[in-house]
């Protein structure tokens, strides 16, 4: 029916909701990022790109990017590889698969704040289980490792409060917490690979497990991998709970764990500097947007088989 406006009734509710809860807030954040607005003020001054200039010049924000990228580039590869490894191992099991699935998935389900408290105890320099265990190894062959010997001679690192270790420790917890999620995604991907492809690979002369993996498993997991990598990137950029739990003030020793999400929280909420907080948010949005577009492009270009 030409001229009919019925379609508006079909797409209208979705569009209104999307504008209200997604696009409008993003627009407001974008607008605020050019001002010095504080919550409670009746007005704000337009400051141009000053907030953005600060983000890309001040050392605090240099540290923010440093911490964020360190975290992301440790956590993403490790969670993806461990997730794939765990999925392959569990998939090859005939028994107890569900048990292992549950065990690896537990950290994903657990509240990270609570888990952070447990880890804080574990990493505690005097009463923590980690350093206590390491001390047990003193006097053994492990001391041939210089780092270990140094630990025995003086003391093992203060994992959470030493600025050389803090971000890696937080990243380790991120890996521990995150790879179970990727494992589940990979397991779903693995079960959808048709059995006959492995039969075909056997007939074609694939002798080793590695050859089967190269010829069938890995290519067939292509779409899953693109998704897993993207979601891992986004989740790692979003890291906040552990940082907030360990370092409620200041983002860790010498701001070495000052990740983006925490920076937004600190600036916009704790210090009520909405303008700069909004600017970081926009930068953050830019990263996530870039990754998502990259994913779409990859999915359509490379891994679209059927």
């Amino acid at each position: 029916m030409p001229g009919s406006r019925a379609y508006l009734w079909f797409i209208g509710p979705a569009i209104i909701l999307m504008v209200l809860i997604l696009l409008l807030p993003i627009g407001i954040a974008g607008a605020l990022s050019f001002t010095d607005y504080s919550l409670g003020n009746t007005s704000a001054n337009f400051v141009g790109t000053e907030n953005y200039e600060r983000i890309f010049t001040r050392t605090t924000y240099e540290k923010m990017f440093g911490a964020t990228f360190r975290y992301v580039f440790v956590v993403v590869p490790l969670t993806v590889l461990l997730g794939l490894g765990a999925a392959l191992l569990i998939h090859s099991l005939t028994r107890f698969g569900d048990l292992y699935k549950t065990i690896y998935f537990l950290p994903v389900m657990a509240a990270l704040i609570a888990m952070a408290i447990v880890w804080e105890f574990a990493f505690h320099p005097t009463i923590g289980i980690i350093n206590a265990t390491l001390e047990r190894g003193c006097g053994t062959w492990l001391e041939t490792w210089d780092w270990y010997a140094a630990g025995c001679a003086r003391t093992f690192p203060l994992w959470l409060t030493d600025r050389d270790y803090a971000i890696w420790t937080v990243a380790f917890i991120g890996v521990w917490q995150g790879f179970g999620f990727n494992m589940v995604l990979y397991l779903a991907g693995l079960t959808s690979i048709p059995r006959s492809l492995y039969d075909a690979a056997d007939m074609d002369g694939a002798q080793s497990g590695w050859e089967r993996f190269r010829l069938v498993t890995w290519p067939m997991l292509g779409p899953t991998t693109v998704f897993v990598v993207t979601i891992s990137f986004i989740r790692s950029f979003q890291v906040f709970d552990t940082v907030e739990a360990f370092y409620p003030q200041g983002g860790g020793p010498s701001k070495s764990v000052y990740v983006m999400m925490f920076a937004i929280y600190e600036k916009a909420i704790q210090q009520n500097l909405m303008g700069i907080g909004a600017a970081i948010t926009v930068v953050f949005l830019g990263f996530v947007m870039f990754l998502t577009i990259l994913q779409r492009w990859l999915v359509e270009r490379r891994t679209h088989y059927v």
């Binding site: 006959s196 492809l197 039969d199 075909a200 056997d202 007939m203 074609d204 002369g205 290519p219």
Partner: protein, 378 residues
């Protein structure tokens, strides 16, 4: 060229026995079809022959080699799968190249990107081989496409190409035509037969479609419940089924089974009408199988029935006639022209060609009828 011998093959999945001591000899160059209803173990037998499944008992020999414990790759067999199982991320050419690469190239030659540089001569030779096979199957135009961009028939050809490219000892095919539409299936039947004639290689073909078995194979094995019920030339299996089960399975529409009896003097009677006198068989109840084409409309025929359904195929017409005392309608074949006037619910009389009936004892096995009389008895 080597002969394939399966002896005493047994296989169970859990407590279900899928194969019960199968013996089968496939002569070199033969086209052998394993046919049977789904779940009869035919695919499992093929997978055991391929090496994809291990047998619980028995031996597989190809040529003079005992390959029972050998990996599939070392048996030099090629398989075409029902789903084709083409690697979706590789082009047709790469798919066909895969078995050659995995067999003929060393580790260095198989490396991505640099492989073709390390083993240049080898790569060129393999590529030539792929092109030659593609030319045979007329799929050269498809070589650069991915399986996702091909139609069912083209995928079928690509899968055949991947199987053919390395000149295997035998081709194993697991219901390769069942994913194609009816017209293409009939076309591919002829094409596979033609391919077999040209390659002169052994084909072992699994299907549940008895028409494929009848039309393509040199020998067919009818399998049911993990056993081979009959092995022989298709024409022979059709003309002289060894048991009632085989008779029912082979032929479409299915054979008519009528209750019969052999009396004290050896006369065979069906529904009270003597069909063959003096069969020299002992007195017993029997099942009498008559194929639809051996039933003829006959005004003086001994049997009466009411037409319930007509299937007009153009060249033939099948009449389903309800006969008193039988659960299933009797199916007769006739010619549409002869039946112009016959409509539904009409009563017809018909007779059975006495020298074409099959007599099965209570155990379901074929009974040899001595010198069947050629005279129809009313």
């Amino acid at each position: 060229m080597s002969k394939i011998v399966l002896s005493g093959i047994g296989k169970s999945f859990g407590s279900t026995q899928v194969l019960r001591g199968i013996d089968l000899t496939v002569e070199a160059g033969e086209f052998v079809t394993l046919v049977g209803p789904s779940g009869c173990g035919k695919s499992t037998l093929l997978r055991i022959l391929a090496g994809l499944e291990a047998a619980d008992a028995g031996e597989v020999t190809i040529g003079d080699r005992d390959v029972t414990r050998m990996r599939p790759a070392d048996r030099n067999l090629a398989m075409v799968f029902q789903s084709y199982a083409l690697y979706p991320h590789l082009t047709v050419a790469e798919n066909m190249m895969t078995p050659l690469k995995l067999r003929d190239l060393g580790l260095a030659g198989r490396l991505p990107f640099v492989g073709p540089i390390f083993a240049r001569a080898e790569h060129l030779r393999l590529r030539k081989q792929v092109h030659r096979t593609a030319a045979t199957l007329k799929i050269e135009a498809l070589l650069d496409r991915k399986p996702g961009q091909l139609s069912g028939g083209q995928r079928q050809r690509a899968a055949l190409g991947r199987a053919m490219v390395r000149n295997p000892v035998a081709f194993l095919m697991d219901e390769p035509l069942s994913n194609l539409d009816a017209a293409l299936r009939v076309h591919m039947r002829a094409e596979l037969s033609e391919l077999h004639r040209r390659l002169q290689t052994t084909f072992v073909y699994v299907t549940h479609d008895q028409a494929e078995a009848l039309t393509m194979s040199d020998q067919m094995a009818v399998m049911m419940n993990g056993e081979i019920l009959q092995y022989g030339r298709p024409a022979h299996v059709y003309a002289a089924p060894a048991s009632l089960e085989v008779a029912k399975f082979v032929g479409s529409p299915a054979i008519n089974v009528l209750p019969g009896e052999i009396n004290g003097t050896g006369d065979l009677s069906v529904m009270g009408k003597t069909l063959i006198p003096d069969t020299r068989l002992a007195r017993q109840p029997v099942s009498v199988g008559v194929r639809p084409e051996h039933m003829t409309l006959d005004p003086d025929g001994p049997f009466k029935g009411v037409i319930r359904h007509r299937e007009n195929l153009g060249s033939d017409i099948f009449l389903h006639a309800q006969v008193d005392g039988l659960d299933k309608p009797v199916i007769l074949r006739s010619h549409p022209r002869l039946l112009a006037g016959t409509g539904l619910a009409e009563e017809v009389t018909f007779s059975a060609l006495a020298d074409e009936v099959h007599v099965f004892g209570a155990d379901g096995l074929r009974q040899h009828v001595a010198k069947p009389s050629l005279v129809e008895v009313g």
